[in-house]
């Protein structure tokens, strides 16, 4: 378990009450956009919020402007239906973009989709985008893919923006210093109709990770370790700012992995202040600013850091050096442990709700306390998803698989996050490494992360998965999921048991 150096409890009532803590002093006052020299120090999340307030009134939520709205086939049909019934257009088609990802096949994209219900939903998105004038990247397009992989690779995700999508992992875009959060279908309809959203102000939380991650420890291990520390509801009502030298040392792909899983801490969003790494990623992308616009953008982006003296409602500190490859043993992302550890004994948990949840999780996962995590055998390995389906993730897994073969009886699916990631990986020869190792090289999509298409586990089957959720039945009814990093996924495929690449001599 990562060492938590200090944790300051929130002053918020809900948080305090839920942990039996007494109320502390007052919550720091956040001044909503008041002009003048006396403006208190602000976090950069608050700065972005303040600059997007369209309307503010006492006792009402702020009305926020939305700079980018991402759509996919699953959470949008009922929203478009609502627009039709009310006779409303999409207010800003030029701030809206759609792709097909959740429901798409990954084995064969050239033939019509076999499942008629899936096909009807995809066709509905195509019709809606055509009728309302929304840009769509359909199956077969070079910019088709998981919505949270596509936005950044197009350069549409930029610092200081507000970004929403009817998908909880919209928090991914916070890696660029954007305020990005998932919304439901009613809110999708609201944004389509008005390009705004009424939102209650959030509380702020800083997770500071200083030090250096050990060799073989990835952004995924880091965020899984954070989930174990904070718990699945620990970030509720908060926007998290990830800070510290270990965060700054991450690539953009790694930062996206961390922010992606903010929602697994219950947070509304997760963000990292932009820096040279961010600017280098953006420069030259198709929607990144150019010329004098780039200079103006850079000048603005460089203001997006938290002021000295800005306070957070809650702070957590983690020492990067204490983190090992981390995996989950339970049925939510907060039920995890270092891979070197054993399945924990629920009896040691003092909170009755947490104890009952752990007992139920072990029963579902068919695990016994004290079992070495390294001894857990899997049927399937899934490499992909909006958490770990980018090029860096595929490279990290390929580095483990190069010259090796996956174990007999193990199936490994490699599903790139987007068509472009797939193409880039093929340019580097990664597909050959995967197929030579005995893995399946698939087309882009959400795939086995949520098993809406036919990529799924059978009842009782067990996976090591680089995705984000190990909920009961998430990868198919009765499926059992262990969340892992890409290198651990690859090493696990080689041995058939949860494995640290170091155990393969890497």
């Amino acid at each position: 378990m990562p060492r938590t150096i200090a944790e300051k409890p929130s002053t918020s009532r809900t948080f305090a009450a839920s942990r039996g803590l007494s109320l502390e002093d007052s919550v720091p006052q956040i001044d909503a956009g008041a002009a003048g020299a006396s403006k208190p120090p602000r976090t950069f999340a608050t700065k972005i919020w303040d600059s997007h307030v369209v309307r503010q009134a006492p006792g009402e939520p702020d009305l926020l402007y939305i700079d980018l709205h991402l759509l996919h086939e699953v959470t949008s049909p009922q929203a478009f239906e609502g627009l039709r019934l009310a006779g409303r257009p999409v207010r800003r088609t030029d701030l809206t973009i759609a792709t097909e990802d959740h429901n798409t096949p990954t084995r064969d994209i050239l033939r019509p989709i076999a499942d008629p219900v899936s096909r009807a939903q995809i066709e509905m998105l195509r019709r809606n985008c055509a009728d309302f004038g929304v840009r769509l990247h359909p199956l077969g397009d070079i910019d088709q893919g998981i919505v949270h992989v596509v936005g950044p690779q197009l350069g549409l995700t930029q610092p200081g923006m507000t970004i929403v999508c009817g998908d909880s992992h919209t928090s991914t875009h916070g890696a660029f210093g954007a305020l990005a959060f998932g919304i439901g279908t009613s809110e999708v309809e609201h944004v389509l109709a008005t390009q705004t959203l009424p939102q209650q102000r959030f509380r702020t939380m800083a997770i500071t990770v200083d030090g250096v991650l050990s060799r073989g420890v990835t952004a995924k291990d880091l965020v899984l370790a954070i989930a174990t520390t904070v718990g699945v509801g620990g970030g509720q009502g908060h926007v998290i700012e990830f800070r510290g030298s270990a965060i700054k040392a991450l690539s953009m792909d790694g930062r996206m992995t961390v922010c992606n899983m903010s929602i697994e801490l219950g947070a509304r969003a997760g963000m990292i202040a932009p820096d040279q790494t961010t600017y280098d990623y953006l420069a030259g992308r198709s929607h990144a600013p150019t010329g004098s616009d780039w200079d103006a953008a850079l000048a603005y982006w460089s203001t997006l850091e938290s002021d000295d003296g800005a306070t957070y409602d809650r702070e957590v500190r983690i020492d990067a050096a204490s983190i090992e490859p981390h995996v989950t043993w339970g049925t939510n992302p907060g039920q995890g442990a270092p891979l070197s550890a054993r399945v924990p004994d629920p009896a040691v948990l003092s909170d009755p709700m947490a104890r009952a949840a752990a007992e139920r999780a072990l029963q579902y996962m068919d695990l016994r306390p004290g079992t070495r995590l390294r001894d857990i055998a899997v049927d399937t390995v899934f490499l992909g998803s909006c958490t770990n389906g980018r090029l860096e993730d595929l490279r990290a897994a390929a580095d483990v698989l190069r010259g090796r073969h996956i174990a007999a009886g193990v199936r490994m699916l490699v599903v790139p996050g987007s068509a472009r990631v797939r193409l880039e990986a093929e340019h580097e020869g990664l597909d050959k490494i995967f197929t030579d190792a005995g893995a399946e090289w698939r087309f882009a999509g959400c795939s086995m992360c949520l098993a809406m298409n036919d990529d799924r586990l059978g009842a009782g089957q067990r996976s090591a998965s680089t995705s984000n959720r190990n909920f009961e039945g998430r990868q198919g009814p009765g499926s059992r999921t262990h969340l892992v990093s890409p290198p651990v996924a690859a090493a696990t495929a080689v041995t058939g048991r949860l494995t640290d690449p170091k155990d393969l001599g890497l």
Partner: protein
């Protein structure tokens, strides 16, 4: 949206915490393109277990679901709210809700109420002892009254949300009253911000 003032109903005890939206409605049901007809998908995996609480005839017709902490974590799928409503639930009570679920519920008129774990435990024990146990949720007076308990529990709810629920107001209509403010904001947006289409609005 249907307005909500007061509601009395019997209670289903869901003795589980971190109930995620994949449990409330699994992904296989999300291929549908309507807003209704999701009742059969509600907790569909758990309903295959004969002893699951929703399979117990004594709780048939109950309209208030009482669950453990962190109800509705995970996916943003509003289908979870639609499924609960289609099944007949008007109110969900938990010590803590996931943000997106709570927002989705508010948009659809499903009332979510946060109470302490002790009150949840008390309600669980009451309805397990007596399936006719019922509660009254009064948003006008902001009180949660439990049958057999003299002292009601105050309901903590944001004033604006309470007003919207009481009036059954539609958010889009409310926002469109401020179109002038939206237009004014749009005129001042930074010029370097990206657009998905080549033409400008």
């Amino acid at each position: 949206m249907q307005s909500f003032t007061t509601h009395s109903g019997r209670v289903v005890p869901l003795r589980r915490s971190s109930v995620d939206t994949d449990q409330i409605i699994p992904a296989e049901f999300l291929k549908r393109v309507s807003r209704t007809g999701f009742a059969d998908g509600l907790f569909s995996a758990w309903r295959e277990m004969p002893d699951f609480v929703l399979n117990q005839p004594v709780y048939a017709g109950a309209t208030v679901l009482v669950a453990g902490r962190d109800f509705g974590v995970g996916s943003s799928r509003e289908h979870a709210v639609w499924a609960l409503q289609d099944f007949g639930f008007r109110v969900v009570i938990s010590p803590r809700f996931a943000d997106i679920f709570r927002t989705n519920a508010a948009k659809c008129g499903l009332v979510t109420i946060e109470v302490s774990p002790e009150v949840v435990e008390q309600m669980w024990q009451s309805c397990e002892a007596n399936p006719d146990f019922h509660v009254t949720v009064d948003l006008v007076e902001r009180l949660l009254t439990m049958a057999g308990q003299a002292r009601p529990v105050p309901i903590e709810m944001d004033d604006y949300l309470r007003w919207r629920l009481l009036e059954g107001l539609d958010d889009i209509d409310l926002t469109l009253r401020h179109t002038d403010a939206i237009v004014a904001y749009e005129q001042d947006r930074r010029s370097f911000l990206p657009r998905t289409l080549s033409h400008t609005a």
